[in-house]
């Protein structure tokens, strides 16, 4: 198969086309959706933070796990960012990125260790840590909140500023995406994640380091959620104890819409990233098109179900084609 045919047949291409379709349709209805300073900026900026979380989520889902605690990790990390600026005035702002990454990574390590060693499905473990992390957040924050006045101006500028018309947050998210995509595609460890998700028992028999790899996937997922928390603080300026709540479902939804198989083994972070863009762009497009509030969540649901049905149909077709190829 030629490279072009490969790109055209890729699952990600379909989802990208859907995104383009949504943007074009909405822009025809209201040109300001793209052709205005704010419109263009919001289009790129709004999904950037979720994209980071979705990329991490995709890495975990590829190994046939799931991390439901990412929304709580985003919240904790966002609040921590604010606290760091309040409690350590004068701290160089680039350092908070490192703090967020490491902090998120540690929370991910807790998830991964529980999953790897307690031998309980990740769904249950991370549902537990979702509440535990959020609980810690509520306890720590109380009715308090971080305000933009608590954080340095350069830091906040990063959250809304842009370079050559492209928001900084988008640039950061895309850089992370490119690195993650490159790693999963070209590195041995990356391919092993797919092998583990494709058949965990076979991976064990094969002698792959299943425990270590799954643990690493959770750490990376946590670290990206931690980074997303820092960016959340920079973007919105205010952080309450409910920051990032519900994001875990958006992240899983983005990955599934983007063609990451929920049973592991296939899909790419690129798909998950485009899925995140589609999810949040549709959310913004529906009011513009004139769809009632009431229906907006339903549309997201239809999108997820549609993606699952599409994947199922594609899988059945592929399996039939492969079987026929064998018999001819």
């Amino acid at each position: 198969m030629s490279r072009l045919a490969h790109v055209l047949k890729a699952r990600e291409t379909g989802i990208l086309l859907a995104l383009v379709l949504v943007v074009v349709a909405t822009t025809i209805k209201n040109p300001a959706f793209v052709f205005s300073g704010d419109g263009w900026r919001d289009l790129l900026l709004t999904p950037s933070i979720l994209m980071l979380v979705a990329v991490g989520q995709a890495i975990v889902i590829v190994t046939r796990s799931v991390d439901l605690s990412v929304g709580s990790v985003v919240g904790l990390s966002a609040y921590l960012t604010g606290r760091v600026f309040i409690d350590l005035p004068g701290i160089p702002w680039p350092l908070v990125f490192l703090i967020g990454l490491v902090f998120g990574g540690l929370l991910g390590l807790v998830n991964g260790a529980l999953v790897a060693f307690a031998r309980v499905p990740a769904l249950v473990i991370t549902l537990g840590t979702l509440y535990v992390y959020r609980g810690i957040n509520v306890m720590w924050t109380g009715s308090d909140r971080i305000n933009s006045s608590d954080m340095p101006r350069e830091f906040l500028a990063l959250g809304t500023g842009s370079l050559l018309g492209i928001p900084w947050l988008t640039i950061i998210a895309v850089v992370v995406l490119v690195i993650a995509g490159w790693f999963l595609r070209t590195q041995r460890a990356g391919r092993e994640l797919y092998a583990i998700g494709s058949d965990p028992a076979a991976a064990e028999l094969y002698g792959l380091k299943v425990t270590r790899r799954v643990l690493a996937a959770f750490v990376v997922c946590g670290a990206l959620a931690g980074l997303a928390g820092v960016l959340y603080a920079a973007r919105y300026g205010t952080v309450s104890s409910q920051a990032g709540s519900g994001w875990e479902l958006d992240a899983v939804g983005a990955a599934v819409i983007g063609g990451v198989a929920i049973f592991g083994g296939s899909g790419t972070v690129w798909g998950a990233a485009i899925g995140a863009y589609l999810l949040l762009t549709i959310n913004r497009a529906l009011p513009v098109i004139g769809v009632q509030d009431f229906w907006q969540r339903a549309v997201v649901g239809v999108l997820i179900l549609g993606a699952i049905v599409l994947d199922r149909v594609l899988a059945v077709r592929q399996s039939r084609r492969l079987t026929e190829a064998r018999e001819s």
């Binding site: 198969m1 070209t186 590195q187 041995r188 391919r191 092993e192 797919y194 092998a195 998700g197 494709s198 058949d199 028992a201 076979a202 991976a203 064990e204 028999l205 094969y206 002698g207 792959l208 380091k209 198989a261 083994g265 296939s266 592929q318 399996s319 492969l322 079987t323 190829a325 064998r326």
Partner: protein, 508 residues
């Protein structure tokens, strides 16, 4: 036959002696002894449960031995993982290929060992070339870019062999590689195996098919009951000799079945066929008769039973009970017609482990016990009490959780559940697996009594003594076909084992 210790001390590539392995109280292996030479294809044969798989798993690094010596190239080894065994040059091809269905054929071969270029990036082009070179060497054509999903079992096995070769394995273990292959595919596999042998690799070939053992191997080692029995050059042994070594125990004294008046035909199975699983299966069971379905694990016996009961589909053929045909895929209809199936895995399929003994024992008749749609504990207990006492279920009370009973008593509860429905045909799949000897005898006595009361019993069993002791007739299943119908008087360990390992029509 010769003892390996008496052979010349030529450097064996792999040598196991007196390997022992137990899982809790269950002893799987007492004396695993094996000596593999370079450039040799060595057969390992034995009945189900003889310890072959355990031995293979120790070689593969999946299990660790409790005792004994394991030498590789003359050096003692103790693998903590499959990765270590692989690094030491041991490749194992399991019965079920261990592939990653979503990944490409090429990736499957080289997973974890991909050729790399700058920045540790996998060199896909080099990897693809290497895969093509391997396939050329093996004389097969498989698209290296396709996913392994949907590959035939034969191609999957070729892929496993390609993996082993790319590892440059010294020792290649094949655990029943031909079980799912057609004749042509077997020939291709054998050609590959001979090629590898001529390169000086050692191959351990586990198979139940004697014709293949004699066609391919140069040496054969027999195991029985977890212990080494004998090793012989293939030219110095015969099939009857090997069968004798495999069975080699007194099987006449156990489990006498009481004589029962054998009456009319109750169950008739005719021409039952499900492609790839079983074909043209025909048999009858009469009232008062115990018919055993004997054969090796994987021969298709449980599948036949499940199809008769209506759990699994079948493509053609018919099942009649008392002269009336049963519809396909309708277990409820089979139950209504008086068929009961006691499944092989009682913990998974036979019992609700968390529920009480009484509830389990009345599960199959709960609709008729219910009054106005409500099921009372009193009604359950009343019915359960009758059966518990008739079957002598040993339980603290009827409220006890079924999962806490011993294996034998669990089996009795499952039996009680089905007997409460008043069946005419009882199909029991491995009725005494995992049950201690004392309770085993009780289960046998029970089955014998039930036959005496006029039930037609179809018993699937992999234990020869049980088959020989209990059955009025032995039907031997080999690769999904009934290859022999042996009446009680003529059934011997040798005749059953021979039929279980040979296609129909072959002479001894």
């Amino acid at each position: 036959m010769s003892d390996p210790s008496e052979q010349q001390p030529a450097p064996a590539v792999l040598e196991l002696s007196r390997i022992a392995k137990a899982f809790g109280a269950v002893v799987a292996l007492t004396n695993g002894t094996l000596r593999l030479e370079r450039g040799s294809i060595h057969a390992l044969v034995g009945e189900n449960g003889a310890g072959k798989s355990t031995l293979v798993k120790i070689v593969a690094g999946l299990y660790r031995r409790d005792a004994g010596e394991f030498l590789l190239d003359g050096e003692s080894v103790d693998f903590a993982s499959t990765a270590e065994a692989k690094d030491a040059g041991i490749a194992v091809i399991y019965q079920e290929p261990t592939l990653f269905p979503d990944l490409s054929v090429t990736e499957n071969i080289f997973m974890g060992r991909q050729p790399r270029g700058a920045l540790g990036m996998i060199d896909r082009r080099a990897m693809r070339q290497a895969a093509l070179a391997l396939f050329e060497r093996l004389g097969v054509r498989i698209d290296p870019d396709r996913p392994t999903l949907g590959l035939s079992i034969a191609d999957q096995q070729i892929l496993e062999i390609a993996k082993a070769i790319s590892l440059d394995a010294k020792v290649l273990v094949m655990d029943e590689p031909t079980a799912a292959l057609s004749g042509v595919e077997v020939e291709r596999l054998f050609a590959v195996a001979r090629g590898l042998r001529d390169e000086g690799r050692a191959i351990l070939f586990i198979s139940h098919r004697f014709e293949e053992v004699f066609a391919l191997c140069d040496t054969v080692t027999v195991m029985r009951d977890g212990a080494y029995i004998a090793t012989s050059p293939i030219g110095e042994t015969t099939v009857p000799e090997i069968v004798r070594q495999m069975v080699g125990r007194d099987v006449t004294t156990l489990f006498p079945k009481q004589e029962a008046a054998i009456g009319d035909v109750v169950l008739e199975v005719e021409g039952l066929t499900q492609p790839g699983v079983f074909s043209d299966v025909s048999f009858v069971a009469r009232s008062g008769e115990i018919v055993a379905l004997a054969g090796l694990v994987g021969a298709g016996r449980s599948e036949i039973a499940r199809a008769v009961f209506g759990v699994d589909p079948y493509a053609s053929g018919s099942v009649r009970v008392g002269g009336r045909p049963l519809p396909r895929r309708r277990p409820a209809a089979a139950m209504a017609a008086g068929v009961a199936l006691v499944p092989e895995d009682r913990r998974q399929q036979g019992l609700v482990l968390e529920s009480s003994v009484a509830r389990n024992a009345t599960l199959a008749i709960r609709r008729s016990l219910a009054r106005l749609g409500l099921l009372t504990t009193a009604a359950e207990n009343a019915s359960a009490r009758i059966w518990a006492s008739r079957l002598e279920v040993k339980t603290a009370s009827l409220d006890t959780e079924a999962g806490t009973l011993s294996g034998g008593n669990q089996q009795k509860v499952v039996l009680a559940k089905w007997l409460a429905t008043g069946p005419r045909v009882l199909i029991v799949d491995e009725p005494t697996r995992g049950i201690d000897v004392g309770t085993k005898a009780e289960v046998h006595r029970l089955l014998s009594e039930l036959a005496g009361q006029g039930l037609a019993i179809v018993m699937i069993s992999s234990e020869l003594p049980e088959v020989l002791g209990m059955a009025d007739r032995v039907l031997v299943v080999h690769e999904g076909r009934i290859t022999a119908d042996i009446p009680r008087e003529q059934a011997t360990a040798e005749s059953v084992m021979f039929a279980a390992t040979h296609a129909a029509g072959e002479a001894a």
